[in-house]
Symmetry: C2
Subunit: 165 residues, 2 copies
């Protein structure tokens, strides 16, 4: 493939007289650029970084946003159901949910027919907050779309990512 036995140190010799105390030029990064996991991580980090920046003043983090979205589309579900759907351990989900509840965005009602479970619902405040977040997120997604070069590229990317999940 691309990165197998390619490159020997091309830094070899300074053609001119050697002075090693200078010009630290660019590194060879060929070996990493062809690695899917590496590229995935960089891209994910970049996108998440932007998310954190955009939602800093709303104090909303990616996981919380996904939780609100999922509850909005699936009201009354149990904590474990939502957590499982997002790949979050139920132990860690507790803190997340409690924080959102403390801000008044959701309620944990007693589930009908199971006194152990909590049925999750958005409050009116939560609905409005989510609407604002959605609008803000739309802008961000639009920026990413521009960065990708169009809707075709974006849906192509989403499709390919889905094959990896």
């Amino acid at each position: 493939m691309e990165y197998n036995n390619v490159c020997q140190p091309r830094k070899t010799e300074n053609p001119m007289g050697d002075d090693l105390t200078n010009v630290s030029d660019a590194l060879r990064t060929d070996a990493t650029t062809g690695i899917l996991g590496y590229r995935l991580r960089r891209a994910q980090l970049s996108v998440f970084q932007r998310f954190l920046q955009v939602f800093e003043e709303m104090r909303l983090r990616p996981a919380e946003y996904s939780v609100l979205l999922l509850i909005a589309d699936n009201p009354g579900r149990k904590q474990t159901e939502i957590a499982d759907a997002l790949g979050i351990k139920r132990a860690n989900f507790v803190t997340l949910i409690h924080a959102l509840q403390a801000r008044g965005f959701l309620e944990r009602r007693a589930a009908a027919g199971d006194r152990r479970a909590n049925a999750l619902h958005l409050t009116e405040e939560g609905v409005q907050f989510l609407a604002a977040a959605r609008a803000r997120h739309e802008d961000m997604e639009q920026q990413l779309l521009d960065q990708l070069g169009g809707e075709a590229s974006r849906s192509q990317l989403l499709m390919l990512l889905e094959r990896l999940g």
Copy 2:
């Protein structure tokens, strides 16, 4: 790590309207599946998880692999240069490098012309270890390629990811 159940039982439309004591069928996840950051994270997590599993017996983690690759292609570079290229803070890079050195994979030689800096070099043992890791990684990358549906899809994905980084 638990994965999202991709193939969920189809939600049976209930023409009789709602009842709250229903069977817990699949959740609606439409809201999240269209979010780039979300999909990126899931895919990255999935790929990294496989990496950790594949390299468990070699006791090699993704960051370490990328470090070895970069040093192999850029011998004699300073710690900070390698760290910067990988987006690793130099403070955290110390532990990483020391672990690899303790296993005999690399050396920190005194840099020529700068007594503060360490020039990083792979040892012979490090070269051989990296070769073994590369072979193992080839297999993994091949699996991902199959998962993506061919080389065209893979290079397409890499290109799109690069636009996000």
